[in-house]
Amino acid sequence: MTQEKIMRFILIGFVAILAAGPLYLETYYTELFIHMMVLGIFAMSLDLLIGYTGLVSFGHAAFFGLAGYLLAIVTPETEPTAIWISLPVVLAGCAIAAAVIGWFSVRTSGIYFIMITLAFAQMFFYYFNENNDLGGSDGMFISNKPLVGWGDFQFLDLENTTSLYYLVFAGLLASYFLLRTILNAPFGQVIKGIKANEHRTKALGYNTQNYKLVVFIIAGTMAGFAGFLEAASSGIVSPGNLHWHHSGIVIMLVILGGMGTLYGAVFGAFILTLLQDKYTGMVELMPDFMSGMADHWHLFQGIFIILVVLLVPNGAVSLLAKISQALGKKEDAK
């Protein structure tokens, strides 16, 4: 087997584990997996910017959080709104927001791009945090889950955790394949060129600013898709979702998992969430005599991240790649 085949094998195995999730997971973990898959979509959308185009956006949570608020706004307290209506509204809202933020941001680069995306996201944060009609710092409840069906006919009941799980699972796969397609298309070649050498890409005849704007809109809209799923599954939105802290976390997911692979971002989301979880996480794994330090788990998380960055600089997927390379060599030797 070649290295590539082994890598594909690992990915298919991972997808199979996810596909069978609700069969073996308790409700708590089913919900945790839903959350991780949503984060995975969110992180992949950022990988499109950071890992493929070379644009480090420090305000990506703006779209994630905005999506939740838009869903809350279009969902009345008394009845559910059909997903065929709420999802397009949410995605369109996020696309418009990304177009506006992107229009300004792509005119800058490097540290200024980071600053301007951060500044916009903080504006969004303060707007929602201080708007009492939208719940202020408490956020809003979404009393009814989106209706997947027509009128009285329900195709999927999202109150049911398993149905929700498979909706999110399908969303994860669809997002992955959509991004793969875009990256293989002529558009994808241009954004990779921008990352490798924007000056030369422009000199070859591409209006790089337009391409950066479009990729920013695609990424923002997909982050909005993740935010929609998060709000739909948790039933609550809060300004914290838009906070720069959240934007920072998703950058960390992408870097820890491995930039420029898409699935690396998903792995990053899974690894970090499991580490933080109260049952599977670091705190549980600590020996008894250290249990007094459980309150300081953020410290341990920090140490873990530093170790990963030092020892596996290209993220968790590079470790997988090395393993499959080693396995591939063994096979070849036979």
């Binding site: 298309a185 558009f187 070649q189 050498n197 000199a203 005849g205």
Partner: protein
């Protein structure tokens, strides 16, 4: 005159107090190889940067065919059919040679704002990329990652990428710099061959190559045009000899 494909009128570029290009008025004739020579720091690269849109002039105008292109950005100038290669290698280091030329060739496909069709199915782009590689003598290196190649080969790739955009007018900024003798001979031959159906503006320090390909020569000193003429005229010019060429015997 219709046989003038590109001309600059009173073109100048100021960097602070320095006039890197100082009111240059030059006519470039269709189908000719027009070589620009001059000592280091004469403003040759700056002139090319103005022509390709990489820099905006402080004043003066540039005309290409029937159009004024003074303030156009590099991407639009490229799409008009003006291709350039850079003195300082400017490639996609982590791409293979083929991928470098691919992106060059894809720029002639109309808009690349296409999201759902696999790029690899664009046959014309394959043809352009491969033709660029072949002309620059890099076919055997098609799948080599650019950063892993020798400096000379990266210089060849620079030319291959430019050719994959199928330009009419070539701006070549010291294409031979950093090449071995053999590579340089090959590239000089290539320039000669390209001159049959392209207009070429060439900057070069290698005088053998210059006199082998030049139809017209312009000598620049301190940003200004000292003289323009045929190779014979330039060789014979007193002013040029004093300012730049030195005595004939020293011209190796």
């Amino acid at each position: 005159m219709s046989d003038i494909i590109l001309k600059t009128v009173g073109l100048y570029k100021q960097f602070g107090a320095l006039s890197a290009v100082d009111h240059a008025t030059i006519d470039f004739k269709q189908s000719e190889v027009h070589v620009i020579i001059g000592p280091n720091g004469a403003g040759k690269t700056t002139l090319i940067n103005l022509l390709s849109g990489d820099l905006l002039p402080t004043g003066g105008t540039i005309h290409y065919k029937d159009q004024e292109i003074t303030d156009l950005p590099p991407d639009q100038i490229s799409l008009l059919g003006i291709g350039r290669s850079y003195q300082k290698t400017n490639i996609f280091p982590e791409f293979t040679c083929k991928e470098n030329c691919w992106l060059a060739g894809q720029s002639r496909q109309g808009s690349s704002m296409k999201f759902f069709k696999a790029a690899s199915r664009l046959k014309e782009v394959h043809v352009r990329a491969e033709k660029g590689l072949e002309m620059a003598g890099l076919t055997s290196q098609a799948n080599t990652v650019a950063s892993a190649m020798s400096y000379g080969e990266q210089r060849q790739l620079e030319i291959a990428m430019m050719l994959a955009t199928e330009p009419d007018l070539l701006l070549l900024d010291e294409p031979l710099a950093g090449m071995g003798t053999e590579e340089a001979t090959e590239v000089t031959k290539l320039i000669k061959k390209l001159s049959e159906d392209h207009t070429i503006i060439l900057i070069e320090h290698d005088m053998d190559a210059v006199f082998a390909v030049a139809d017209t020569l312009t000598v620049m000193v301190n940003g200004a045009v000292l003289e323009t003429g045929t190779p014979e005229q330039i060789r014979a010019s007193k002013a040029v000899q004093e300012a730049y060429l030195g005595d004939e015997d020293g011209d190796h």
